[in-house]
Symmetry: C2
Subunit: 390 residues, 2 copies
């Protein structure tokens, strides 16, 4: 994604250098894309990190993997050799099936932008805007390559201060699917999901140093009004996906989600959570690939039944205004805290892909306080004090 990442530590306090890198995949690691029919005046993006230019493509390629990857992978002693390719296949199938499900409910069609990079990698952005059910729905996949500073690689391996070793930058691979779906009806919730896989090559100048890999992702629900059975249904589907793999996953990832989507300056979460995990590599790689696959397959059964139930509910201007205020909170979280968004903005990523996560419209009223006990108050209370839904 970037050819130099030395400036990373300027961002908000990360857990580790490693997590700073993973943040680049959340939600949308799209670098700049040259517009085909741009009427925009010429401009120079002042970027903190030099990045390669993207090329728009007319057709989706079979794969965004580089040819050399297969050769390199076959030399590896690890069984991870095919994970890159299988992860890409999985997220592209997930993109197809989620878009098809959205189109079936909405009646509108996604528009698609395909791009590639000279050095390998690329992505597919799909956006449905001002549809019948969704005001803005984006589903993006990307497969990117870059260079990781040796400090980050060492931190990732848990060798924080191995100052003696003079290693060069380590090549990394990152693939992910990222989606935000904002419906029109104030009773129909916003959904976000994002699943990603990250891998470094074994550094050539440090014999014996292993290839590293991690999985990350999550699915979370952001309603403006609580229908308890819907929130329970959503969390139950997440829990079922988790329980197939490890009974500790759902409680752990549910809490991680509540902690991650926290709008610090408001003291509240942006929504009612779901699951979130990052930097996951302490389980079998095949198992985590299967788990990520299961999570993406859970998106439609978790979300579409809720939308079917809520999309045509009658509502008032007041309901719409409250939805718009909550959309304002969504904007605040994404622009101020979301690691992928802030990283993308600061490194000159493809802005339209990164900010497709923002709602079509949002609202900020001075000092708005919902009346205690009202439906709006109940939502706010659940965002401040996260509940156990299953």
């Amino acid at each position: 994604m970037h050819t130099s990442a030395i400036s990373l530590p300027i961002f908000s306090p990360p857990k580790t250098l490693k997590s700073q890198f993973l943040s680049s995949l959340n939600p949308t690691p799209f670098p700049i894309q040259t517009r085909l029919l741009s009427t925009r005046p010429t401009l120079t993006i002042r970027s903190a990190v030099a990045i390669e230019k993207e090329t728009p493509e007319n057709e989706r390629p079979e794969t965004f993997l580089r040819q050399s990857d297969d050769a390199a992978a076959s030399l590896s002693s690890s069984s991870a050799s095919s994970i890159r390719g299988r992860f890409e296949k999985m997220i592209r199938e997930a993109q197809d099936s989620v878009c098809a499900a959205i189109e079936a409910v909405d009646g509108g069609k996604f528009e698609e932008d395909v791009w590639s990079r000279p050095g390998g990698g690329g992505g597919i952005s799909r956006v449905l805007q001002e549809g019948n059910v969704w005001e803005k729905a984006g589903v993006n996949v990307s497969v990117v390559y870059g260079m990781m500073p040796p400090e980050a690689y060492r931190a990732a391996k848990g060798e924080g201060s191995a100052e003696g070793v003079k290693a060069g930058p380590v090549p990394f691979f990152a693939a992910g699917i990222s989606s935000v779906l904002h419906p029109k009806n104030p009773f129909a919730p916003t959904l976000h999901f994002n699943y990603r896989y990250f891998e470094t090559d074994a550094p050539k100048d440090t014999p014996g140093a292993p290839r590293q890999w991690w999985f990350g992702g999550g699915t979370d629900l952001t309603p403006a009004y609580i229908f308890e059975e819907d929130v329970k249904h959503f969390h139950t589907v997440q829990k079922k996906a988790c329980d197939k793999f490890d009974p500790s996953f759902y409680p752990k990832f549910k809490k991680w989600c509540d902690d991650y989507f926290f709008i610090k300056h408001r003291g509240e979460r942006r929504g009612l959570g779901g699951i979130f995990f990052d930097d996951l590599n302490d389980y079998d790689q095949e198992m985590l690939l299967a788990f990520s696959t299961e999570c993406t397959k859970s998106v439609i059964p978790a979300y579409i039944p809720i939308i079917e139930r809520c999309k045509d509910m009658p509502f008032t201007e007041q309901h719409k205004a409250w939805q718009q205020l909550r959309r304002g909170r969504y904007v605040e979280f994404n622009l101020v805290y979301d690691r992928g968004t802030t990283f993308g903005l600061k490194t000159g990523g493809r802005i339209e892909s990164i900010l497709v996560s923002l709602p079509l419209t949002a609202r900020w009223e001075y000092d708005h306080q919902p009346e205690e006990g009202s439906e709006e108050w109940k939502l706010l209370d659940a965002c401040i004090n996260p509940k156990e839904w299953v």
Copy 2:
């Protein structure tokens, strides 16, 4: 404003440690205010910096200065002794006159929140929301005291690495007026202005170290459509205010404004600029107080005639949608780049006062491109390539 500011260096790359401190005054240095009639559920703000709680007041005090200030000031050999008090008086008069001018045009009334802090200092927030002409207008003044880490003090004095000196935290004083005015009509521009004065006490444990002080501020215009005569008028008033003091001010501060209000990830400015300056202490203090006063007095003649001309212009849905897209850019600048806003959010400032700068409503369309040569395109072009208006 804060009792500890060690965490400051986590913010976006500053020019100097000093400017990080000044950023705390831009635009709205309001710490948390306890709500009188809050229906909000109990919550704990997780703040990067410990801050003192604010107390709502029923009446505006004569002054927010501490009684001890006058005594301390009279001991000082500097003629700066009365600057604190005179600056406070000036910004409070500016708040009164700007609010009166807004009310006269709008017909609506500002609501006022007054708050104080146990250790001294306080502020007055005034907001007019959903008026006849403005959808959201905020005019805030504050007078705050805090402690500045010795590193910041040394940096401010230009003694970057005087590690040998073991100085304690240095008390500082900061006062400012900050205002954002968002009209309803898409042809009527948004105005922002902010003027502030910053001072440190002479540190007791470092004999001979001087009292430090700086001025900062600016006034800038953000239209959705360009009426050249209006933009020229606005800049001409700014230039006249500057020229009364130094012919170098306008060109210098005009460029500073264009540079500051730059939305890096878009490669465009949020508006058509005006003047901006920060960390100003290399002129006579009396002169800079008079200059700041002149700038606040220029707000009404620079802005109100434009509003009178534009506020009732007929417009279409398309005009409104474009205004809303530009409001989205305003949100992006304030949440991602504005030093005062990001500082305030991260240190647990009074959120409603800080975010009163956000528009009532905003919009984000995927990949919106105005048609080349259109009025929307002309505005965007001027935001990308700043022009000389006078």
